[in-house]
Symmetry: C2
Subunit: 195 residues, 2 copies
């Protein structure tokens, strides 16, 4: 048992090594630089070993994305826990969310731009994805009032996500980041207007 145990352990380590190396390479040089050849060279194995761990390159990106969602969930939970009022919790979560996107651009790309096959809005979605969304939902829930909590959370998430992606693409000026975020939070926690 100990021999096969060691093998399994080594295999699991290599599995994680592939994920972390792909992530590092992407964060350092962008996802275009993450080719199976370069990745294999970095982990000091030949190309085909990648395919003994993952179905293909997409699966590697997805694995990085899931890791990202787990970290995002942790960051949001910490932000929410540090806040006093519900409004402050929303502000803290929004700040943590946008900071996460700014600090890990390639990771954020893997989570939202490159990964297309991760189930999300279903029960089959990986736990980290549901955990990250739950943090947003939990932060907004106390303020929902007559609003549907699920929809309220989705709208809040979408607003934060849009800001992150537009900022990242250089489509929102980098300055006034703070004020923009404050304005977003102000709208999110506002009592809804009617048309």
């Amino acid at each position: 048992m100990s021999i096969s145990g060691r093998k399994e352990r080594e295999r699991a380590e290599r599995h994680e090594l592939i994920i972390s190396t792909a992530r590092e390479l992407a964060e350092a040089e962008g996802w275009d630089a993450v080719t199976t050849r370069r990745l294999a060279e970095r982990i000091e194995y030949s190309q085909p070993v990648l395919y003994s761990h993952f179905a293909g390159k997409d699966a590697i990106v997805s694995a990085v994305a899931v890791q990202g969602f787990a970290e995002l969930a942790t960051a949001l939970a910490a932000a929410r826990a540090s806040a006093g009022t519900p409004e402050q919790a929303v502000a803290a979560v929004a700040g943590a969310y946008t900071a996460f996107g700014a600090a890990n651009p390639a990771l954020y790309d893997a989570m939202f731009t490159l990964t297309t096959d991760l189930p999300f809005a279903t029960a089959a979605a990986p736990a980290p994805l549901r955990a990250a969304f739950a943090e947003i939902a939990d932060a907004l829930a106390p303020l929902a009032g007559e609003r549907d909590p699920g929809l309220y959370a989705e709208v809040g998430w979408g607003a934060m996500h849009g800001m992150v992606t537009l900022t990242r693409a250089g489509r929102l000026p980098a300055d006034q980041r703070e004020q923009r975020l404050a304005l977003l939070v102000g709208q999110l926690v506002a009592r809804p207007g009617h048309i």
Copy 2:
């Protein structure tokens, strides 16, 4: 003059043909199917002619994107013009924006996901891009109040963009689209809360 004039005209026609063919192919089969070989075959020229019109494939995608921004600006203007109150204008613009994204998924991808080199928040940004943003800004301006109009527009744009992309990626359930949009608009036009 008439001969070289005809040549220039034919060249311009082919230029547009490349753009429209790329767009059609993308909308029909996704951008992955838009290879330089398939594109050349469709326009019934060899591959290298593409490079006599565009610096590379990215430039073709960018050209499609600019066309998309022009159409988006038109759609938003029409929506805004049809509305009565400022609040209704915001609702109309938001509805038109999300409908545009849903109706032209590949085009929207070209505009926001694939194109990375289009300048935006600067004066050097192509006119259609500034026009589309201006429609959003103009719709929100009457409601800005003490809010900075520019930031207010950016936040509104980000919120709509986030909703479109998350919906498109299958990360927001397709049902309750209407209610979600209404909730978003309600938050956008709300008098801001404070933290």
